[in-house]
Symmetry: C2
Subunit: 357 residues, 2 copies
C-alpha cells in the first residue's frame, strides 16, 4: 500500500511521475537503453536538459539574462558556491532564520567577512525578522536568505529590498508559489523536495553577476562554466534531471505555479486551521510567517508525540517525526502531497486527540 509520506526530503513524488520513470527505467524513448544508461551526449538526453530549462523558464517566468542550471549535489554544496562565485569584495550579509540559513552563513565565513545581520534564533526561529529595519552593510557582494525554513516551518512573506544582490536558498519551497525572479541575483534549490530525487540542485542566476568566480573556485562549482556548457560540462546526475522534467511537465499540465500555489495554500490552511482550533495540538510559529510546505506541531507532551508517530505509521502516514532540533512532529506537504494525504492526516489527528486528550 502506498504511504502518505510527509518526509522533509527526500520526499514524496507524484505517483504518475514515478510510474512513468518506472516504465523508462528499462527503455527510454525507444532507445533500448534505460534513462540511467544513456550517454549525456545522446540527443535524447540533451533534449531532456533543454526541456527542463525551458519549462523552468516558462513556469517561473525567468528572464533571458538569467542562467538556469542543473548542478551536482545538494544545496549544501551551493553554500560554498555562493561566496566562491560572488564574493569579490570579500563581504556578505546573511539573515539567519534556521538551520540551513546558519550553515550557509558558516560556509560564507570561510571565504570572507560574512556577517549575520539579522536572526530569529532568539525565539527558536519561529518567525522571520522584519528586514525593513535591518541595517544591511555597505559594500557587500550579496545578502543571503533562506526563503523557507524546513525544520522550523517558517517562510518569508516579503523579500527584503537590498542594494546588493539578494541570494536565496529556496530548496524547500521552489515551485510552490509565484516569485519575481528579478528581485533576486541568485536563487538555488536542492531538488529533493519539490523537484526530483536527490542529487541535483537548481541554480537560477543573473548572468552579469557570475562572470568572475573567485580564483580558488573549483571548476565544477563555477556557475559560469555550467552556464557555458548548458549544465553538461561533465556527466550530470541524469536520472534526477530526467525526473525533474517529468515533474515540471506535470506542473505545467496542472496550470503552473499559480494553480499549485492555490492547492498548497488550501492544504496548509486545512492543517493549520485544524491545529489552531484544537487545544491538543500546537504550532508555535508566528502565524504570518507560517510555511505552507513544512508544518511542525506537537501534542501536549513527548510521550504522546511518540505514541502519535507510532499510530500514524500504522495508518500509512509516515515520516512525520520532527527534526531533532525541535522534536514533535512535522508534516512536509510539498507540491506532490495530495489533498487526500492532508485530510487523512487530519482524520488521524482527530482520532488520536479523541483517544488521548
Amino acid at each position: 500500500m502506498r504511504a502518505y509520506n510527509f518526509s522533509a526530503g527526500p520526499s514524496t513524488l507524484p505517483l504518475d511521475v514515478l510510474k512513468e520513470a518506472q516504465r523508462d527505467l528499462l527503455d527510454f524513448a525507444n532507445t533500448g537503453m534505460s534513462v540511467t544508461e544513456i550517454s549525456h551526449r545522446n540527443k535524447a538526453f540533451s533534449q531532456i536538459v533543454e526541456e527542463g530549462e525551458s519549462l523552468l523558464r516558462e513556469l517561473l517566468q525567468i528572464p533571458d539574462d538569467y542562467a538556469v542550471l542543473f548542478v551536482q549535489g545538494g544545496a549544501s554544496t551551493q553554500f560554498a558556491a555562493v561566496p566562491l562565485n560572488l564574493m569579490h569584495n570579500g563581504k556578505a550579509d546573511y539573515v539567519v532564520t534556521g538551520n540551513f540559513a546558519k550553515k550557509a552563513f558558516e560556509e560564507g565565513k570561510i571565504y570572507g567577512d560574512a556577517a549575520c545581520v539579522a536572526s530569529s534564533a532568539d525565539q527558536t526561529y519561529t518567525y522571520i525578522p522584519d528586514l525593513t529595519q535591518i541595517p544591511f552593510r555597505k559594500g557587500t557582494d550579496y545578502v543571503h536568505i533562506c526563503s523557507n525554513n524546513t525544520i522550523f516551518g517558517t517562510r518569508y512573506i516579503d523579500f527584503p529590498q537590498t542594494e546588493t544582490p539578494l541570494v536565496a536558498d529556496m530548496s524547500s519551497e521552489i515551485l510552490s508559489r509565484e516569485i519575481d525572479v528579478r528581485r533576486f541575483g541568485v536563487i538555488y534549490a536542492g531538488a529533493q523536495k519539490n523537484l526530483a530525487p536527490a542529487g541535483v540542485t537548481l541554480v537560477i542566476a543573473k548572468r552579469s553577476l557570475i562572470q568572475n568566480p573567485l580564483g580558488i573556485c573549483p571548476t565544477m562549482l563555477q556557475w559560469k562554466v555550467q552556464d557555458e556548457n548548458g549544465s553538461l560540462y561533465n556527466t550530470p546526475p541524469c536520472f534526477s534531471i530526467y525526473v525533474a522534467v517529468l515533474v515540471l511537465r506535470k506542473l505545467k499540465q496542472m496550470g503552473g505555479i499559480a494553480a499549485i500555489n492555490e492547492i498548497n495554500e488550501y492544504k496548509a490552511g486545512l492543517l493549520y486551521d485544524f491545529i489552531d482550533n484544537s487545544k491538543f495540538y500546537t504550532n508555535n510559529v508566528v502565524k504570518k510567517y507560517r510555511s505552507i510546505m513544512n508544518v511542525p506541531f506537537v501534542t501536549p507532551n513527548a510521550e504522546l508525540d511518540d505514541a502519535f508517530l507510532k499510530g500514524a505509521a500504522k495508518e500509512g502516514l509516515v515520516s512525520l517525526k520532527g527534526h531533532r532540533l525541535v522534536g514533535g512532529m512535522r508534516a512536509s506537504i510539498y507540491n506532490a502531497m495530495p489533498v487526500e494525504g492532508v485530510k487523512s492526516l487530519i482524520g488521524y489527528m482527530k482520532k488520536f486527540e479523541k483517544d488521548n486528550a
Copy 2:
C-alpha cells in the same frame, strides 16, 4: 528491444539490477515509498549506505584505516577535492595520460605547484609512460594518475612506486580488476561506468591523510567530514547509491573481482584478437597498455566509420561512436556488458568488413 549499449558513461547496467530498481521505484522494502522518496535518515536507507560500504570493503579488500565514501557529483568535482584535501605543501606531481588526467592536472594548478612529470601526449596518449624512469619531485603532497583512460583506451599495468601518496582516478575501471588498495593514498571513481547511475563518486582514502583539508576547502568537499558522517552529512544522491548496492550485491554473487576480471579479460581478448587479426580494423594502442574496459578502433577511413556506426545502430549495437578527440569507434565493455554483446559486435564487424573491404 534491449540494445547492446557500448556508451563510455553513463553506461549499461546489469539488466537484473535495472529490473530490481524498477520494482523498488514504487515501493522500497515494503515502506510504501519509492526508494527515491525515502528520507536518508530512515533506517531502511542508512542500512543501504552501510551495506554499500561493507560490500566495497569486502570486494576490494579495503583495510580498516581507509575511509570508504559516497560523495556527490562526478570525478570532475574530485579533481578539486584532491588538492583541497591533500595539498598541504602546495606541491603535487601529475602523470598526464589522457583527457581526464589532464583535467585533473589543470585543476591541481589552481591550488598550488602542480607539475606534469610524465605524459603520453607525444603519441596521442596511446601508451602509459614508464614510471620507473620518472624523477618524481621531492616534497610533494601526492602523485596523481588516471589508471584507465576512457577516451584513449589505455590502462596502467604496474603502478608507480612513489615516496608520497599515490592518488588514482579509477572512474572507468573501478571493480573491474583486483587492486592492492594499500598501494594508494586515495582512489576515486565516478559511478557511471562500473557502479551506478551518474551522480555519485566513490572515494577510498587513507584516513591519516585526510584529517586536515585546506582552509578554503568547501565543507562538502572535505573527505574528513564525509567520513565522520558516514556519507550522510547532507542528503546524498540516494537513488545512485541504492543502485550501486544492487550492483555490488550482484558482483559478490558472481564471485567477486577475480571472477569479473576473468570475464573482462575474456571479453576484451575476443575483441582485440579479432581487431589484430583483421586488416580492416585498427586499434593503435601499445598492446601492453590496452584497456580491458574501453576499446577504440577505426576502419580504413572516416566515411566507413560513419557507415559502420549507422549500420551498428540498426543492429541494436549503440553508442559506439569514438570520442571527438580520437574519432572512429569506441566499444566500452564495462562489467555489465554481457559476453554476448561483445560477440554480437564482432559478428557485425565481420559482416561490415566483408561488405566493405
